[in-house]
Structures are given as C-alpha cells and as structure tokens.
C-alpha cells in the first residue's frame, strides 16, 4: 500500500501501462484494494458498467496470490478484499439460495461495480480540478499588493472623576511630604555621638539615666523620637567600642549609662 505522502515531489509513480507483467505485483503503486481493483478493471478494457465482477475477482485473487508467492508484504486490507472476493466468487458460481436475509450475490457484485465507478468518477473530477488554472501555478495575484493604510485616530478617553482623583491624589501626597519636611527636625547620629562623647567626659563612674541627659536636646516634643533613637544607636556603638556601659532593668525602663572602667575619656571636649 502506498505510503500516503501528502505531497509528492516526483512525478506520480509511473503510469501503469498495460501488458507489463512486472507491474502486476507492484502493490506499492496502488492506493488500496479498491484502487487495485479499478486498475484491473481498466485492463478489461470494457465499460465499467459492463465489467465482469467474476472475472475481476479472479484477477484480483490471482494478483494477490502472485504477490504472496513473491513474498511481498501485503497490507491486511488487500487480504481482506481478496477473502471477500473469494467469497463473492463462490456465491456467484453457486446457485443462489432462496431469498434470505442477506443481499444476493448479484446485489453485492452490483454494489462493488458501483463503488468502482464512483471511485473512477471522483478520480476523473480530481484530475479535471487539478488541470484548472491554479492560483500560484498558472494564474497569479497581485505581486505587490498595496494594503489599505489604516489611519488610526486616537480618541482619548478620560472622565472628570479620573481627572479629579489624579489631581487630589498628587496634592495629598504633596501635602504629606511637605508636612514632614517642614516639621521634622532630625537629631542625627553624628549629633548624638558628639553629645554622648561629651557626656562621657562628665561621667565619673556613676550610672546616669540617658533620658535626663538628653532632655536638653529635645528642643520640642516632636524631637523626642529622633533624639532617643539616635542616642541609643550612638550609645550602642560606643559600648561596642568599650567606651560606655549600658544597662536597662526591664523593658521600657530607663536606660542607664556610665563610662566604662578602662574608658579613655577621650580628649574630645
């Protein structure tokens, strides 16, 4: 059975001429058993209307036997057709039994002949179709189409709501950022470090709460967080350097500091 290659790059497999016995076993050239039958029928050189199905069946069976003798691989459907034709042949040769459920041998033969004619007919129109002036083979479309230019005119959409929301949001962000910029007075880490180093100079080994010392730097109440945060950071740093000792008795309790024992009191002040 021919491999169903969708496209063939070569010319269709050799036209099967008559009287070339070698072709008789060239199963590869056929598109299935029906195609083979049609080819055999054509060789009877009679109108398909008057074909002898009996003769055709015998030829087909002979063909298949020859092919098998030559140990050609045959697709199952060729064998199925051979078996069916053998059955049809026997029924055609034997006297018809009285009318039963099954269709008569004559009916079966006629149906087969009809199928062959139908296949032949579609083959003919397929050929006619292929012989038409095909686009891209015989006739050609515009080679350089000039596409319709689409001028996109953007019409922008925006609602008053969107406009007001956009404005209000920006202004609100602006208010907020301005508020903090104006009011925030930051006590930087450097400030804190300097102040603490001065403090260490005054300490004489006694524990002092950090808060009491820091009060003077809290110029306004709002500065308390920044002063505390920076002072604590600076304190911890100085503890790490061994200049201060720090202690807190419990969470949220005042933080006590004193100069470390071996502290060199730094000549900063």
């Amino acid at each position: 059975m021919a491999k169903p290659l969708p496209f063939e790059d070569v010319e269709p497999t050799a036209e099967r001429g008559e009287g070339e016995p070698a072709l008789l076993v060239d199963v590869d050239g056929f598109e299935g058993p029906l195609d083979l039958l049609l080819e055999l029928a054509r060789r009877q050189k009679v109108d398909l209307h008057r074909i002898s199905i009996l003769a055709l069946a015998e030829q087909y069976i002979a063909f298949i036997e020859e092919a098998r003798r030559m140990r050609l691989e045959l697709a199952a459907d060729y064998l199925v057709m051979a078996a069916w034709l053998a059955y049809l042949k026997s029924r055609l040769l034997l006297p018809e039994p009285p009318k039963g459920e099954e269709p008569s041998a004559e009916d079966l033969a006629t149906a087969l002949a009809l199928r062959l004619r139908r296949l032949e007919a579609i083959r003919e129109v397929a050929q006619k179709l292929g012989e038409r002036s095909l686009l891209g083979r015989d006739v050609f479309a515009r080679g350089a189409p000039e596409p319709v230019i689409v001028n996109r005119d953007a019409r922008y959409e925006a609602s008053l709501y969107d406009l007001l929301k956009a404005y209000a949001q920006q202004r609100q962000v602006q208010f907020n950022s301005k508020v903090s910029l104006h009011k925030r007075n930051v006590w930087s880490l450097i400030d804190a470090r300097e102040a603490l180093e001065r403090l260490v100079g005054h300490l004489s080994g006694d524990w002092v709460t950090l808060d009491t010392y820091l009060v003077e730097f809290m110029v306004e109440p709002a500065m308390r967080p920044t002063v505390l945060a920076s002072a604590l950071s600076a304190t911890l740093e100085m503890v790490r350097e061994g200049k201060l000792t720090v202690r807190q008795d419990e969470a949220f309790a005042p933080v006590w500091v004193k100069s470390a024992d071996q502290a060199e009191t730094g000549a900063q002040s």
Partner: protein, 244 residues
C-alpha cells in the same frame, strides 16, 4: 421643531440618477474600483467595494465594465468565491510559471481526498474512506487543513459525532471557481447518482454545499475542536482563537 424634521427624508431625493448625469461619476467609480481591486491580492466582495465607492455607485455595472475592459489584457478581472480579483490571464501561465518557487504538487491521495471533500461536502472521514476504499492518514487531512482549502465544518449528528469537512473560500480562489456549483464535472457526478444528498431534496440545499450555515444533520464544533486545529481556525477567524 418636530414638524421640520420631514425635510430630512427629502435630502436624498434630488439625485434621480439619469445615466447621463452619472457618467463622469461612473468612470470615476470604475477607476476607484480598479485601484482597489488592483491593489489587493485578495478578492474583494461587492460589499467591500461598496464601502469605498461613491454613494449610489452601480457596483454590478462597474464590475461588468471593468471585466470587459480587461477581458483581452494580460491581467483579467475574474470572479472567485463570489468575490472579484485581478489575476494574470491564464493563457500567459507559460511566462509566469518560471517564477514559481518549486510549486509542491498535491499527491494523488491528497488530491483525491480534496476532491471528495469538495464534491461530497459536508463529508466525514469515514465517508471519504468509504469512497476511496482505503484509510485516510491524519497527515493528509492535516495537510489539506494547512493549505487552508478545507475546513472543519461541524459534527455529524450521528453515532460518534464525527467531524464534517468542507471547503473554504480559499479553495475556490485557488482553483479559480466562483462557487462550489462550478466544480468541473459536478453535473455528471450528480447525474450518475454519485453525489447523494443526505438531506431530503425538498429542503433545496444544494449538493455539495460549502455554505457557512450548518446542515440539518450537523452540529456545531465543540469548543475543543477549535483548539485542536489552530491551522484551520486562524484561517477563518481573525486571530484570537488559534494563537498560542
């Protein structure tokens, strides 16, 4: 105010279009149609043309005139798939085919399958196989779908709900057919009884039919089908679906 709106209806009336007065417009309309058709590689339908032509242009006449003007030229105006297109004259294929980059020829099996689909549509794979007496490889149908010449139509209302195949407008275009009824040898096939309408004859549905509308015995495709065959889909619909 209200009673003055009557005027609106009369606005279009004055143009009685006696042909005489129309001539210059007609020539201009011909030129426009000519430019549109000439510029396009794809066939254009009368509706598409109408949208671009001056109001009230006689499209039928314009197309007839254009067809006549070009009848003997190296480029002809032809009707394909119910639309119009300029195509090189078919008798000149000998000069032009040299350009063709290794045109791949459909195999006999594919050509037969395509013909069966064309003449027997809507048709199922089993019916194709019945006619050819051999199994149809998936590859053949896939390839035909890829050419854009066939399409999945729907599903037959029958056990197993097999998919039905039919041809597309691209098929008509490629084979230079105006309508599916123009298939060569169609009448002979019908006459010989080889094309049996599965639809009762009183329904006057033409056999074969490549109409968009499904037949009585067809169901629409399932949602899944649309994704199984992206190749087919993006031929018929504009993008969206078959894109991965």
């Amino acid at each position: 105010m209200m009673n003055e709106t009557d005027e609106i209806e009369d606005v279009e009336a004055p143009e009685e279009t006696s042909v005489e007065s129309r001539v210059p417009d007609h020539n201009e309309a011909i030129r426009i149609a000519e430019a549109l058709l000439f510029a396009s590689a794809e066939p254009l339908g009368p509706e598409e043309l109408a949208g671009r032509l001056p109001e009230g242009a006689d499209i039928q006449k314009i197309l007839e005139d254009l067809q006549e003007i070009y009848a003997l030229r190296g480029v002809n105006l032809v009707r394909v798939a119910g639309k119009w297109a300029f195509r090189t004259a078919s008798d000149l294929s000998f000069v032009l085919s040299r350009d063709v980059v290794e045109q791949r020829k459909l195999s006999r099996a594919a050509m037969e399958t395509l013909s069966i689909i064309a003449y027997h549509q809507p048709v199922t794979r089993a019916e194709i196989e019945e006619i050819r007496g051999v199994a149809t490889s998936k590859g053949t149908l896939d390839l035909l779908l890829e050419t854009g010449w066939i399409r999945l139509r729907g599903r037959r209302k029958a056990p197993g709900r097999p998919v039905t195949y039919g041809t597309s407008p691209a098929f008509l275009d490629h084979f230079g057919l105006d309508a599916i009824e123009d298939l060569p040898g169609l009448e002979e096939l019908k006459g010989a009884g080889f094309i049996e309408g599965r639809v009762p004859s009183d329904m006057s549905v033409p056999v074969p039919s490549d109409a968009e509308a499904l037949r009585e015995d067809e169901d629409p495709l399932d949602q899944d089908d649309l994704f199984q065959e992206p190749l087919d889909m993006h031929k018929t619909e504009t993008g969206e679906t078959g894109e991965e």
